[in-house]
């Protein structure tokens, strides 16, 4: 039985953060709940004894009143404390969820993408789904342990008094010690058995969860991206993919079913074993009280009292033991949560927080950059070197899979080069503080993402709502009219996930908003990865003409398969299979008669003959 001090500290800290009174309130509530049955035992025994002694009716009634009042007071106070615990518990849950979200949105990108990052976040999600929220469980199990402890203590106090009475009555001290000692040994044995049993059970349980991590990601994917995604619905229907999905998801489900069956079996045998131990022990104890009663060693009232106390003792004991076992079973889930929150890249990136120079001039250079994606052998980029001076407008072209988007991802510091460096004003970009570095970049991603928030929030991000700037960006993209016609202008929600009234956008409109967002950010360096893929010809031409004037002074790097847009650029970089093949102006490259010319001819042919 290892005690994880670190985990204990962390959870205690989380408790304390939400409310310093959460734990005391929980303790108080359970103290009252534990005391309640003893109030009943004590006073009902007093009533019975009073009647036997032939006390006056009023006197007996008074005992009954104390009984009822005591129970009422204990319960009411318990409910009030319980209410507090419940409130704090809900806060604890959302607070920890918020921490997870904040970690997810701020942690190192490559770490989030890494196997461990993805596995942990999927496993956290799955754990919450199958096991329940570990913090909710923590409170529940702590409650079990506390309630049990208080119950056991109260029962022991009671039984000690019984032993003391017997000793006082002079009925064989050794015998009483022997019985009481035997009782404690039995109890200790019971606890040990239950805890051991729980230990084994929980070990099995978490191991089962562990085996499931790969399945978790798949399961999550099917749930989120296939079943709950209306966009997938059309593929399933038109391509009649039911059989395939049933088969593939079936594999995941079979693994799951094995898991749930296993969990159920463990749970059943665990509980059965516990009941056997518990019932056996209470049986022995009751037998003992019964024997005493038979020999008229205790009064009838005391039978009520002591058999009740013994029952309370064992119920409490099982609760403590089971609670401890449950807490230990819950620990891996908590540990997983904290492990996720503590995830840090091996080499602390952006550790060297070099501050960006104040000068507006930006000069970028790739120097012999090599890169391959984790888990692949072939280079995605090989010995790529180029320079981008302040104010340059650069186009990157090349066939699908030639490494253009990867170049951009390296520039954005989403990945690091394996060999070579990328410099900004002569300094390795890895040395700048990452947040400051990102402030330099306005990016339109190829697979850009608009969130189901308000339109202006998509454009302005976390910053304040600068309405005029938002309108200006929308105006520049020709989206202002469309937005004005929306139900709440720029306050309208996009899509339906967040608000049912949300606006559905066409592919082109969405892309225009993604560009508006980059314009709004107005950073010194613009990076656009196929910004016109979904735009109609008129919008596309406008986009290139406008960005050319709008971004006149700024540095721009863009990727496009529409080579007409290259005419606007100072320089064109041509990539093939991860190698920078050609570099020059449109005219130079056409004359060169290489890869670029091939690409150009393929596209221009149709327009020229027409």
């Amino acid at each position: 039985m290892r005690f994880d001090r670190d985990l204990f500290k962390k959870t205690f800290h989380s408790f304390h953060e939400v409310s310093p009174w959460l734990f005391p309130a929980l303790a108080g509530e359970n103290f009252l709940l534990a005391v309640r049955p003893f109030i009943v035992l004590h006073f009902s025994a007093a009533v019975v004894d009073g009647l036997y002694r032939g006390d006056g009716e009023a006197q007996v009634l008074l005992q009954a009143l104390w009984l009822s009042l005591g129970v009422l007071a204990a319960e009411a106070a318990g409910h009030i404390l319980g209410c507090y615990v419940e409130k704090a518990g809900q806060r604890l849950y959302v607070e920890q969820m918020k921490k997870q979200l904040e970690k997810m949105t701020t942690m190192d990108y490559q770490l989030l993408e890494s196997g461990r990052g993805q596995e942990l976040s999927a496993s956290l999600k799955r754990g919450r789904f199958q096991h329940g929220d570990p913090f909710d469980k923590l409170i529940r199990y702590t409650r079990d342990v506390l309630a049990g402890l208080f119950g056991v203590t109260a029962a022991l106090v009671y039984l000690a008094r019984f032993a003391a009475q017997k000793l006082a009555a002079g009925s064989g001290a050794p015998e009483t010690f022997f019985m009481f000692g035997g009782f404690l040994v039995l109890a200790a044995g019971g606890v040990l058995l239950t805890v051991k049993n729980g230990e084994r059970h929980n070990g099995q349980r978490f191991a089962r969860f562990g085996k499931l991590t790969a399945q978790n990601r798949l399961y999550g994917f099917y749930r989120q991206n296939v079943f709950q995604n209306y966009k997938y619905g059309k593929e399933v229907r038109i391509f009649d993919e039911r059989e395939l999905i049933v088969e593939e998801f079936g594999k995941v489900q079979r693994a799951n079913r094995g898991f749930i069956k296993g969990i159920g079996k463990d749970e059943g045998s665990f509980k059965a074993a516990n009941s056997v131990v518990n019932t056996f022990l209470s049986g022995i104890a009751c037998l003992y009280v019964g024997v005493n009663a038979y020999h008229k060693l205790i009064s009838v009232g005391n039978i009520v009292k002591y058999s009740g106390a013994v029952a309370q003792f064992f119920t409490g004991l099982t609760r403590v033991a089971a609670g401890i076992a449950d807490l230990r079973g819950n620990a891996p889930f908590l540990r997983q949560h904290y492990e996720f929150l503590d995830l840090e890249p091996e080499e602390a990136r952006g550790g060297r927080k070099r501050v960006l120079p104040a000068s507006a001039s930006v000069e970028l250079s790739f120097e012999h950059v090599y890169f391959r994606y984790p888990g692949t052998e072939a280079w995605t980029l090989q010995d790529v070197s180029f320079r981008v001076s302040q104010g340059d407008h650069i186009a990157m072209v090349g066939q699908n899979g030639s490494g253009k988007t990867t170049c951009i991802r390296l520039l954005l510091r989403l990945y690091r080069p394996e060999k070579g460096v990328i410099r900004l004003n002569g300094v390795d970009i890895q040395e700048y503080d990452i947040k400051e570095y990102w402030r330099l970049l306005s990016v339109v991603f190829q697979d850009f993402k608009l969130f189901s928030f308000r339109l202006w929030q998509n454009i302005a991000g976390s910053g304040a709502k600068r309405e005029e700037a938002v309108w200006k960006a929308l105006e520049d993209l020709g989206m202002a009219q469309r937005v004005r016609e929306m139900y709440a202008g720029m306050d309208s929600y996009l899509y339906r996930e967040y608000d049912e009234q949300g606006i559905l956008l066409s592919g082109g409109e969405a892309q225009k908003l993604a560009i508006a967002k980059a314009l709004y950010k107005d950073a010194p360096v613009f990076v656009m990865d196929e910004p016109s893929a979904a735009l109609d010809p008129v919008s596309e031409a406008q986009l290139y003409e406008k960005t050319n004037t709008l971004l006149g002074e700024k540095t721009m790097i863009f990727i496009s398969h529409r080579l007409s847009s290259c005419c606007f650029c100072d320089r064109i970089l041509v990539l093939k299979d991860g190698v920078l093949l050609e570099e020059g102006s449109h005219e130079q490259l056409l004359q060169l008669g290489g890869e670029y010319q091939k690409l150009w001819e393929a596209q221009a042919g149709y327009y020229q003959s027409a």
Partner: protein, 462 residues
Amino acid sequence: MTRGVSFLVNLCGLLFYGLTIGRCDPAILAVVTMTTCGGYLATVLLRRCEQRQKETLVDCDRKMNYLENEGQSLQAARELRIYDMAGLFSGLYRSSMERRTRSTDRIAHVKALVCSGESLLAFIRSFVTYFYLIHLAVAGRIAIGDLVLMTGMVAGLSVWMRGLIGDAGELKRLGLYLDDYFAWLDLGDDGQTSKKREEEINHEDAPSLTFEHVSFCYEGAQEDTLRDITLTVRAGEKLAIVGQNGAGKTTLVKLLSGLYRPCRGRILLDGKDITDYSDEAYFAGLAVVFQDIQLLPVSMVENVSSHIRAKTDMQRVMLSLEQAGIGERVRKLPAGTDTCLQRSAREDAVELSGGEQQKTMLAKALYKGGSLLILDEPTAALDPIAENDIYRKYSEMTQGVTSFFISHRLASTSFCDRIILLDDGRIAEQGTHEELMAKQGSYWEMFNVQSRYYTEGGRDEI
């Protein structure tokens, strides 16, 4: 199931205890019944409060869930970091969280109140019972042992009673769930299912299609997205559909694919209304490449064939990959055609570039075949050579097929028989490339904008 059993157990317990107590004294029975019912009413109050808060809670949970899912997605992760949106995320999360906390607080308050009320009722029940029984015992009308038994039974009876009432409520609630579930299973296609002819459609030959005054309006939208579209497509015709963003092209695709039904008007396939066919029969003849790319975390082969391995024609898969221009790339993958896709779902998967994903989607449509081919911007992410490649092979791909090609790349219109230009949900122009160019209307304008930079004269103007 278990609820039903528990209901029966509670009922038996109640009868047994109730009879025992009632035989001894009906007055106690009355007190127990009254206080228990009072307690039940209090829990009804609690349930009602929970019900009132449920909408807020569901809404908050949905929003929080959305944020959590997006936070986990890699596509969103890139955007989040560059645009410093983490603050927006946690701000929105916080506001939902606070709303949720207010709701759960309210429930906790009402719960404490209701429980205290119940305790008060229990106090009354307990004291009245004792008062009565002690009176009887002192008067010698019952034995003291009976008093112990009776107090235990009174407590027991109220437990049985509460259990029974609780179970009845729960059974009713479960009944409502089941109703929802069966209603969901029964979700028909607006009652038209029965009318559907189960006959097979002849998918061997290219069909003709007719739009008769078709209009379409999205639910909740004020204006029609498509207005009064009338159009006849000959069997085997190759149609190009062009138009500005938001003109209704993609909506037209959804209508053609039978995913949406026209709000007004009809679409006829070989002269028969397509809503008369069952979905399965209609879908069987369709091959569609949608604008958005959706791939499964299964092997390349299965993504292309849409079927399990045993029902896959491997030769056809290779042929389709080849036709879509991704054959060589697939052969170079670590496990060839057995390589899995979707890195976000599995570690052993490969990450394809945007263009490669689009080619895979095209291969999937080509594998399926069918007599009606619909391509919605299938070349948006392709490089010029790959795009050109598709154009060159288009005639081959559309052999004996009626086809629709939606694109912003106007070069694509040159290999189509007819061009339809949509503007604001209507057909603004139609004809061959030459006809439309001669007309000097919107198409002519669009074509000039796009071709300007490709022609020698145009480039000099910049």
